[in-house]
């Protein structure tokens, strides 16, 4: 991830690194890129919006299936970025069973930055993460 590259550099490249994506909307330092959390749940809402897309996922506790599921909000790139990687506005719909891998928020809230999404058919949506980092 971009946040692992700590160098002093010229503004143009710095902006690209800070953005981490095609959008320089905000810092990604609130996400812990050294950790990955896997969420297995149901799509409550897929927000295909600028500046970033979001998936609201309802995640039940496997140890306590009777309890109300916990809602997580996971952040993605801008719609145009996702579209280039194979996503469409209706790639996910409410009720879809998905598995999401995220870099979690550092502050402990139920949120994070999406690393990969596996759809209801068991296939990874979009372009998967590179094997080599």
């Amino acid at each position: 991830m971009r946040t692992k590259i700590a160098l002093s550099f010229w503004i143009g490249i710095a902006a690209a690194l800070m953005a981490g994506t095609a959008s320089a909307h905000h810092s990604r330092a609130m996400f812990d890129s050294s950790k990955q959390v896997t969420l297995v749940g149901t799509v409550k809402e897929f927000q295909w919006t600028n500046p970033h897309c979001w998936i609201q996922v309802l995640v039940p506790d496997p140890a306590n299936p009777e309890a109300a599921p916990v809602e997580w909000g996971v952040e993605m790139g801008a719609p145009v970025e996702l579209m280039r990687k194979g996503w469409k506005p209706e790639s996910l719909n409410p009720g879809d069973k998905i598995t999401v891998v995220i870099n979690p928020l550092r502050d402990g809230q139920h949120g994070g930055l999406v690393v990969s999404v596996t759809g209801p058919d068991g296939k990874v949506l979009g372009r998967p993460a590179p094997v080599t980092r």
Binding site: L7, W10, H52, E71
Partner: protein
Amino acid sequence: MIANLTGRIVAHRAASAIVVALLAGCLCPAHAQTSSKKRVEAFAKLPDWSGIWELDAFVGQSDGQQFSAEGQRKLKAYAEAGRPSFTPEYQAKYEQIKKSVEAAVAADPAHPPVTHQPLCQAPPFPATSSPGMFEWLVAPEETTFISTVGAVRHIYTDGRSHPPKDELWPTLMGDSIGRWEGGTLVVDTVATKQRLYMGELSGFFVPMSDQLHFVERIRMVNHNQMQIDTTTEDPVALTKPIHVTITYARVTDFNRMIEETDCEQNERDPVVNGRFTTVTH
């Protein structure tokens, strides 16, 4: 009803007369033909920069927004080439700002301080061509740069000079004039925001002097690559100019520009007390 019909016929005839008059005007005057021919010739001398472009380090970026290994290698190389060498006065400023940012980050690492640029604002020059995709519109009088993250640059190539000093003030894009050397556009830019971006920590700016000045040489390397060689000069703040050559790749998996920074649409990373926060639901 008859009156309405008559009115429509009259209006139709009037419109037809205007069209005929316009066509005659376009086709007949000798001066219009000459001007048009010269303009076509002027366009024919310009290179073809059509298409959509992006920083080459973005190629192969994953859905999880991680750079490919090759992309990371390129970014590191660009960063090394762009490392500034400050004069003692500006080195002291850099260290002081870095120290204060370090303290702010350490105080709350989960909510980084907003120290780099206002959210959802177009990236300032010379960061204009790094985030997002961009395209060029090349005309004899001006080359225009337009990006998907809101940056627009006007590079005037009609032979004009920069405005006099008393008509300039620092702006995000500055004032750019250019000239063609074959297929290379040489661009001189002044009056940008007087600051240099450092990518350390959560990123921060170091102030520069009013002599901050950029010279770019922009050219196509081949059908799928462009290069921008940028020299950053500031004899007050830098001991030597910074030279960086960055390569841009033709976007081949997408064919249209879509704006991507409408923060009012769904802002879920608001700034609170000068720090980034996240709204999870």
